[in-house]
């Protein structure tokens, strides 16, 4: 497969625009080979890490002579090693992702575009990527791939996805955590329609496992601010539960509840040093993927 092959969620134009996009992480990662990312191991890269006492056998060229001049001590500079990234995309495929109101496409389609773009960026920059789809449990975990050829089945799988069933993000994260190599990058792509405390528990689990976290909160603006009015009978897309509401009367309280939820998620992400992004399905996928790079560089 070449990067120019056309997939529904990775058209050639999008792939071309993402060629120069790089994704960085803030915490050191544990990779298999040389790459762009800071390694947990020390090596001879240019980034200074720490000093250690000279021991016979160390190359004299690594003795820090200015330090000797000041202290009469022989010390050796140690530098950070650089390695490649292992990234896991956790993609929510529960029934609520089928929702579409004001967005240009359903949340599922948008999430799939994001997932395809992210996988391309990561493989393009030499990183390894895996895809795990979930609803209330992990449905289909793919092994890590590092080549565009290896990416093909993942991209084809995206095209077959049909959002359905009830979702449980926390349970899926806990299940996925044991499938992932430590100190990796975990990208959660979901509409995060679960109690914020539960999502936070899942994120904390991943954070404690040493992962770098990125949360991409896909949302249709019609579900953040009710786009309809009058008396309406709503049916939950996952549970089938019905509820009759008067939209005009409920709109202010509803909007406040949504914003409270987003704020709680944001706080939970901050606590776990996770990069949180609220993505409106009306916005361009390409722009959002490009924004990942600029934001990442600002952080670091």
């Amino acid at each position: 497969m070449s990067p120019n092959d056309s997939y529904k969620y990775l058209p050639p134009a999008l792939a071309e625009s993402l060629r120069n996009v790089n994704l960085f992480v803030r915490r050191p990662v544990q990779g298999a080979k040389q790459g762009l990312h800071r390694s947990t191991q020390f090596g001879s890269s240019v980034e200074f890490a720490e000093y250690r006492n000279y021991v016979p056998g160390d190359p004299p060229s690594r003795i820090d002579w200015p330090v000797y001049a000041r202290t009469d001590r022989y010390v050796i500079r140690r530098f950070q090693d650089e390695t490649n990234l292992r990234a896991y995309l956790l993609l929510d495929i529960s029934g609520s992702l089928a929702f579409r109101d004001l967005g240009a496409m359903s949340k599922m389609d948008y999430a799939a575009f994001l997932a395809a773009g992210l996988m391309f960026i990561l493989v393009n920059q030499g990183d390894a990527v895996s895809l795990l789809t979930f609803d209330r449990k992990v449905r289909h975990p793919f092994p890590l791939v590092e080549t565009f050829e290896g990416l093909r089945p993942l991209l084809l799988h995206l095209e077959q996805l049909r959002p359905q069933g009830r979702g449980d993000i926390e349970a899926a994260i806990h299940e996925a955590a044991v499938m992932m190599a430590p100190r990796s990058l975990v990208i959660l792509i979901s509409d995060l329609l679960q109690e914020s405390e539960k999502i936070a528990r899942g994120l904390r689990h991943l954070f404690h496992d040493g992962h770098n976290l990125m949360v991409m909160h896909v949302s249709d603006s019609g579900e953040r601010r009710l786009s309809f009015d009058g008396i309406v009978e709503l049916r939950d897309m996952e549970t089938g539960e019905r509820m009759v509401i008067e939209a005009d009367e409920l709109r202010p309280a509803y909007t406040a509840a949504v914003e409270r939820h987003i704020a709680e998620i944001r706080a939970a992400c901050a606590e776990c040093l996770a990069d949180y992004r609220l993505i409106d399905t009306r916005s361009s996928v390409e722009e959002e993927l490009h924004n990942l790079q600029s934001t990442a560089r600002l952080i670091y």
């Binding site: 009058g230 049916r235 897309m237 549970t239 509820m243 509401i245 509803y254 509840a257 939820h261």
Partner: protein, 429 residues
């Protein structure tokens, strides 16, 4: 025992309409817009009691609407407790039908009037000390000593009921009920009753007559119908009595038509008797076929020119009340016709008015006087008519006493006849 009743029962029949809000709710319920939504969790957070509160509110609103309709209909139906306040005094008016039909037999044997009075007496005897009652008769009978207004004196009431006798007259229910309503309006107690004891004859109660005032609200009206005995034989009655349609002159025979009705299922044979105020009487046999009328002509003679009466009666017939009729009449005596002038001037007219000069045929006696004697004659006699020729009138160039007298006579309603003079001679008999 107190019982709930309604004054406008039609609104009670409309009570099922109270279910309409429920039906509308169920019908329109299914037509709400349904919409798929990603999650309901934020709605529950927005108002945790949302679903339950809305349902409770909906059902409460529905219940209120149903109650509103029910109470409105009940209010329009105007329910009232009859017999409420039995502990308090009761005011009762007893209307007793004493018309002629009540003298007929009841199936039990006694007359209908007897049964009516017995039932009324029983009511009186059940009165409490504070209760009051009054009696109204359908036919006003001054011979019955009725207590004045409403009274608690049961003895006086019972005595009055014992005094009631059948009359021959037809009752006027509307008038009797007006008197009863007047008594009820003066009754002090809140609980008022009106009891009517009657055989509900169609000829009396079937006539449409408006009461002058409405029966007061809340008055309990009870009609005690006294049944009539059923007869398979003839049922004769004097339906009408009519005198001849001309003047009845004293001393002259005149005719009276008597119409007899047989409402029974078999031919009726009876004797028709007459009796007048002069003591004269007659009897004749009549036969009236079943369900038919028969008109009998009677020839009578009025002797004197003064008010008289005639009784016509069917003898040997069950119900006497409708078997007799009376006719009052006043035969006229001979009257004078004053001709102003000589008889030869009036031709045959005097003969036409009185074929014999004594008025035996017509009751009119002609007298002839000159104009100068007119005033004296008017003072002496009161002529039925004054006859004057045109020529005589024209000759009166200027007013004199005779003219003035004639004007006065006419202005007081007298009849003045103007005729042309004629030379025709009057034959003699």
């Amino acid at each position: 025992m107190p019982a709930l009743t309604v004054l406008n029962p039609i609104f009670v029949w409309m009570l099922p309409a109270a279910a309409l809000p429920v039906l509308f709710h169920l019908f329109f319920r299914v037509r709400k817009r349904e919409r798929l939504f990603s999650t309901l969790m934020f709605f529950r957070r927005a108002d945790p009691r949302l679903r339950s509160r809305r349902r409770i509110r909906e059902w409460l609103t529905l219940l209120l609407r149903v109650f509103a309709i029910v109470f409105l209909l009940l209010a329009l139906a105007r329910p009232c407790w009859q017999g409420l306040g039995r502990g308090a005094a009761v005011s009762t008016v007893l209307v007793v039908d004493n018309s002629g039909s009540m003298s007929g037999q009841s199936p039990k044997g006694p007359t209908k009037l007897a049964l009516a009075c017995e039932a009324a007496r029983n009511l009186v005897l059940r009165m409490h000390n504070n209760d009051k009652a009054g009696i109204v008769l359908l036919v006003n009978d001054p011979t019955v000593g009725l207590p004045e207004g409403m009274t608690s004196d049961r003895t006086a009431l019972a005595a009055a009921l014992n005094d009631i006798r059948p009359t021959d007259a037809s009752g006027k229910p509307a008038h009797a009920l007006d008197r009863a309503v007047a008594l009820l309006n003066l009754a002090p107690s809140p609980h008022r009753e009106l009891h009517i004891f009657t055989d509900i004859q169609v000829t009396e109660w079937g006539k449409e007559a408006a009461l002058s005032g409405a029966v007061p609200f809340g008055v309990e009206v009870v009609v005690h119908r006294i049944p009539s005995s059923v007869s398979s034989g003839p049922d004769l009655a004097v339906k009408a009595i009519r005198p001849q349609q001309r003047r009845i002159v004293a001393g002259r025979p005149f005719s009276v038509l008597v119409e007899v009705l047989n409402q029974g299922n078999s031919d009726g044979r009876a004797r028709l008797s007459t009796f007048d105020s002069n003591g004269a009487g007659s009897t004749q046999e009549i036969l009236v076929p079943a369900n038919q009328n028969r008109t009998v002509s009677l020839t009578l003679r009025a002797v004197n020119p003064r008010p008289q009466w005639l009784q016509v009666r069917i003898e040997d017939e069950g119900l006497p009340a409708d078997n007799q009729a009376y006719l009052a009449f006043h035969p006229l005596g001979r009257q004078t016709v004053l001709f102003v002038g000589a008889d030869r001037e009036f031709g045959l007219l005097p003969l036409a008015l009185a074929p014999d000069s004594e008025g035996s045929f017509s009751g009119l006696v002609p007298i002839f006087k000159e104009r100068s004697h007119v005033r004296a004659q008017l003072d002496k006699i009161n002529p039925a008519m004054i006859v004057v020729t045109w020529e005589e009138i024209a000759d009166w160039a200027h007013p004199d006493s005779a003219v003035v007298e004639l004007q006065t006579f006419v202005s007081k309603g007298g009849t003045l006849l103007l005729v042309p003079a004629t030379a025709a001679s009057t034959p003699s008999f």
